[in-house]
């Protein structure tokens, strides 16, 4: 249901995010509501815009209260800035309830002006779903609808005058019987998988991983916002590639050489095994510092991309993180070897500031 207030609500949110009416910015304060979620106290952010008035300051004003206590008894403190009455059982740990991931994704989308993703082949891929929502006159006994059958029998008996209120025995005959029946609905489905690949060779330091982690979070948030079913797979590689859990993916620190092709091979293998390109939207993201072991391997990567990977995926994103040790050559090699490939997106991320640009490059196409 659409509410009239939605317009005002949206406008308020836009003002709070300083997209419009920037003159009000200085009046925005972040209030909070203390709520309870299970055993924990949670803080619910409550943004507020206060129109200035001629009024008294609360501190000087004081007031009248009611309850026990001698003069000098503390009834509230100023920590929350809200005066007495605020706050609920100090000393307990308060968790922040942030905005929902969906809101965050919307923010991201608005901020970077990302287009909504057009799922590939959404119309083609349909799933069938059965729902028992109908009644039929024939069917298996196990699906007999007792109440409807009884009603029919009652109706028939009353109509034919055989119903005796003094002895209300209802006996259904074959024509009275009613059975539950189903209806099949078809709905287009959009599934998506993100395959993260990361170079964990010795040259990738903590800072580089931090960048990867932040970027992956935002990519996740955005794709999650666009697809109902989103799976994630994680591959790490040095000279050899292997699939790992999310936790390991972000925290693993390995050393060794780099053979990017090993990751691409594994990625390709995963897709073939599990993610049929006809029914899945596939997003491989590869992050490395651009250092590869020998040009032979780079050739192999290019071949893999060109012959199989690029044909199967919505887009293949390569993000190159700057590191002190990497040569940073891979991105150039890719660009030269595969010019004009529409669904190959590359971006260089030199520091945290550039994450935003990189996300825009990757997600800006709406694929």
């Amino acid at each position: 249901m659409v509410h009239r207030i939605d317009k005002d609500s949206t406008r308020f949110k836009h003002i709070v995010r300083s997209q419009i009416r920037k003159d009000l910015k200085k009046y925005i304060s972040q209030g909070e509501l203390i709520g309870r979620k299970g055993k924990n106290l949670v803080s619910i952010p409550l943004p507020q815009i206060d129109i200035p008035h001629f009024r008294y300051g609360t501190k000087e004003k004081g007031g009248v209260g009611q309850g026990e206590g001698e003069p000098g008894t503390v009834i509230g403190n100023d920590a929350a800035g809200t005066g007495p009455g605020a706050g609920d059982q100090p000393g307990e740990h308060i968790l922040e309830v942030d905005i929902t991931l969906d809101e965050l994704a919307e923010l991201l989308g608005e901020e970077l002006q990302l287009p909504n993703i057009q799922p590939r082949g959404a119309a083609r891929i349909v799933t069938e779903k059965d729902k028992y929502s109908q009644i039929r006159k024939s069917g298996p006994e196990s699906l007999r609808h007792f109440k409807r059958t009884y009603k029919e029998a009652l109706k028939r008996q009353i109509a034919s005058g055989t119903y005796d209120p003094a002895n209300p025995v209802i006996i259904p005959v074959r024509e009275d019987k009613r059975y539950r029946s189903w209806r099949t609905t078809y709905r287009p489905e959009s599934n998506a998988v993100i395959i993260y690949m990361m170079d964990v060779s010795g040259s990738m330091g903590a800072e580089q991983k931090e960048i990867v982690r932040i970027e992956a979070f935002w990519i996740d948030t955005w794709l999650q916002h666009n697809y109902r079913n989103l799976e994630r797979r994680y591959i790490v590689h040095d000279a050899a590639a292997r699939e790992v859990t999310e936790d390991i993916f972000y925290h693993l620190r390995e050393s060794g050489g780099t053979r990017i092709s090993s990751a691409y091979t594994l990625c390709n293998q995963l897709i073939d095994e599990r993610y049929n390109p006809a029914s899945w939207n596939i997003y491989p993201f590869h992050f490395s510092d651009g250092d590869n072991w020998g040009s032979d391997d780079t050739q192999e990567c290019v071949a893999l991309l060109k012959n199989s990977l690029l044909k199967k995926v919505n887009m293949f994103c390569y993000g190159q993180v700057k590191s002190a040790y990497g040569s940073g050559k891979f991105i150039k090699d890719l660009g030269e070897a595969l010019p004009g490939e529409e669904n190959l997106l590359t971006s260089e991320i030199n520091d945290k500031e550039e994450i935003v640009d990189s996300i825009r490059t990757f997600l800006g196409k709406g694929k």
């Binding site: 249901m1 406008r11 509501l33 200035p52 001629f54 009024r55 309850g67 026990e68 009834i75 509230g76």
Partner: protein, 511 residues
């Protein structure tokens, strides 16, 4: 949605009880709302249609978050209109709906009969919808940003109204005779009584002459003063005299009209809630409750009247004070004889069986507002029984602490927070200050400073509406201060005013 047959049956029953008790109200139309509809209407200040503005959205955001986390729930809402509209929350237990209905009839009676509501528009439902239509037209023509910016400026001064204006004709409508050529009034200085031969010594001609000249000058000054008398209804003054476009003038009038409409509710918060709580309690406990509902009723009722240390609960103070008045007038605990009785024990047991209580509380609800209510009926016994105290802010610890429980200080503080609805008293002294069309406002300082940053920003908004520099005379930390704003810069100057510790030499500050 209208009432279900079951709720309608209850409503008729409760309404019957209310009338039996002598409550007198406009027809009450109940509607049942879902929680989100309830939040929406509550955010709109009780009305289904309002002009577009972000602050309703903010209110809605707060209400729905509070509801979503189970922290608050609006049980009832009732608006002052003829007929009265009242909203029930769908899904509340039946006993809750009963309490709410009984409570609503209390409010409805108060709206109709309390003197301070007598000048409110009883067709506000239509008026508010008209406001929305007009506002929408301006937005369509000028764009939301522009209109909204002006609304925000107007809202910034919405408390600068004269709460008593609806009852007093302050603005003199020009009479025909005023417009005719005014005859110079014959001005005579007051003579002291004297014998003829002493006349030239007691009332020397030159002194008389000087005095006459002084009076003439004074009247001339007064005639030239603009406004002639200090004007408290700043919104009205701007609406009439500020150089505004027609739509801006109209928005000011809308904001002003709504401010005046809501003013009596702020003026009678304690009484209104107390009255409604008093009646829901009587109707429920004496008539409407069934045995199985007692526990739920008690739970709900105590929740409504619960107190937290930091603030007074208007429901609680209101209902207790009404009950106290009823009890005192029933027992005759008033008047000279009672006041002058020194024997505390006798006073305690005082009972003349007058039975005037009921009559008295109906009279009180008719003529009083919160200020006069507290001023007239708060007694030392009541303050002690209700454990009222005065609290203040302790700068050294950053805490709010209890200061004292003395009757006089409690009463004084309470009255201070209620007078002028807790708003500072500000009026226009001169709208042609320095003969340059600048506006000079005076804050009647009563011991508490204005919130400084807010005052400065409000001044900017005022200057934007007045289109000329605006000044306000106030006291900041014991020093008389003139804050001036020419629309962009804000300057402060220490000046000598009454009530401030010291004037000191004029020093300029540039914040």
């Amino acid at each position: 949605m209208n009432l279900t047959p079951e709720l309608n049956y209850i409503r008729e029953e409760i309404e019957g009880y209310a009338r039996q008790y002598g409550l007198d109200f406009f027809e009450v139309i109940f509607e049942v709302l879902e929680f989100d509809e309830m939040n929406e209407i509550a955010a709109y200040g009780g009305y289904p249609t309002r002009y577009p503005h972000w602050r309703w959205g903010m209110e809605y955001d707060h209400l729905s978050k509070g509801y979503a986390y189970g922290l608050q729930k609006i049980y009832e809402m009732v608006i002052n209109n003829d007929p009265c509209y009242a909203y029930l929350l769908r899904g509340n237990a039946l006993v809750d709906q009963k309490i709410v209905m009984a409570h609503v009839f209390g409010h409805a009676d108060f709206f109709k009969n309390n003197y301070w509501f007598s000048r409110t528009n009883r067709k506000m439902m239509d008026e508010i919808a008209n406001h929305a239509t007009r506002m929408n037209r301006y937005i369509a023509r000028l764009g939301q940003d522009r209109v909204e910016t002006f609304i925000d400026q107007a809202l910034s001064i919405e408390n600068l109204i004269d709460y008593h204006a609806p009852f007093i004709k302050r603005m003199e409508t020009p009479q025909r005779s005023d417009l005719e050529e005014q005859k110079e009034e014959i001005i005579r200085a007051r003579r002291l009584k004297s014998k003829p031969y002493m006349e030239s010594f007691i009332n020397p001609a030159e002194v008389l002459h000087a005095e006459e000249e002084r009076i003439r000058e004074k009247t001339r000054m007064k005639k030239r003063a603009f406004p002639e008398e200090p004007e408290k209804d700043v919104l009205y003054f701007l609406q009439e005299h500020a150089p505004l476009e027609r739509w801006e003038r109209d928005i000011l009038s809308i904001v002003r009209e709504e401010a005046y409409y809501y003013a009596p509710q702020a003026q009678t918060k304690i009484m209104n809630e107390g009255w409604a709580a008093y009646w829901h309690s009587r109707i429920m406990t004496e008539k409407a409750l069934t045995d199985s509902e007692i526990i739920d009723y008690a739970d709900h009722h105590s929740g409504t009247l619960g107190v937290s240390a930091g603030a007074i609960n208007p429901y609680k103070i209101g209902i207790e004070l009404f009950r106290d008045i009823e009890d005192r007038w029933n027992k005759g605990k008033f008047g000279k004889e009672y006041e002058e009785c020194d024997d505390m024990d006798a006073k305690e047991r005082w009972d003349k069986n007058l039975g005037l209580g009921r009559e008295k509380i109906f009279e009180v609800r008719r003529i009083h507002n919160d200020v006069t209510f507290i001023d007239t009926f708060l007694t030392p016994e009541f303050v002690e029984r209700q454990k009222l105290f005065v609290y203040g802010y302790d700068k050294s610890t950053g805490n709010y602490v209890i200061l004292d429980r003395d009757f006089n200080s409690v009463k004084q503080k309470l009255l201070f927070t209620l007078t002028n609805c807790g708003q500072p008293h500000i009026e226009i002294i001169d709208a042609n200050y320095k003969n340059r069309g600048e506006m000079y406002l005076m804050h009647r300082h009563e011991g508490v400073d204005l919130k400084h940053d807010y005052a400065v920003d409000t001044l900017k908004n005022l200057a934007a509406i007045w289109h000329r520099p605006v000044h306000i005379e106030t006291v900041v930390e014991g020093k008389g201060t003139l804050i001036s704003c020419d629309g962009k810069k804000v300057e402060e100057e220490t000046i000598k005013v009454q009530g401030a510790e010291s004037g000191g030499a004029a020093e300029k500050q540039m914040p």
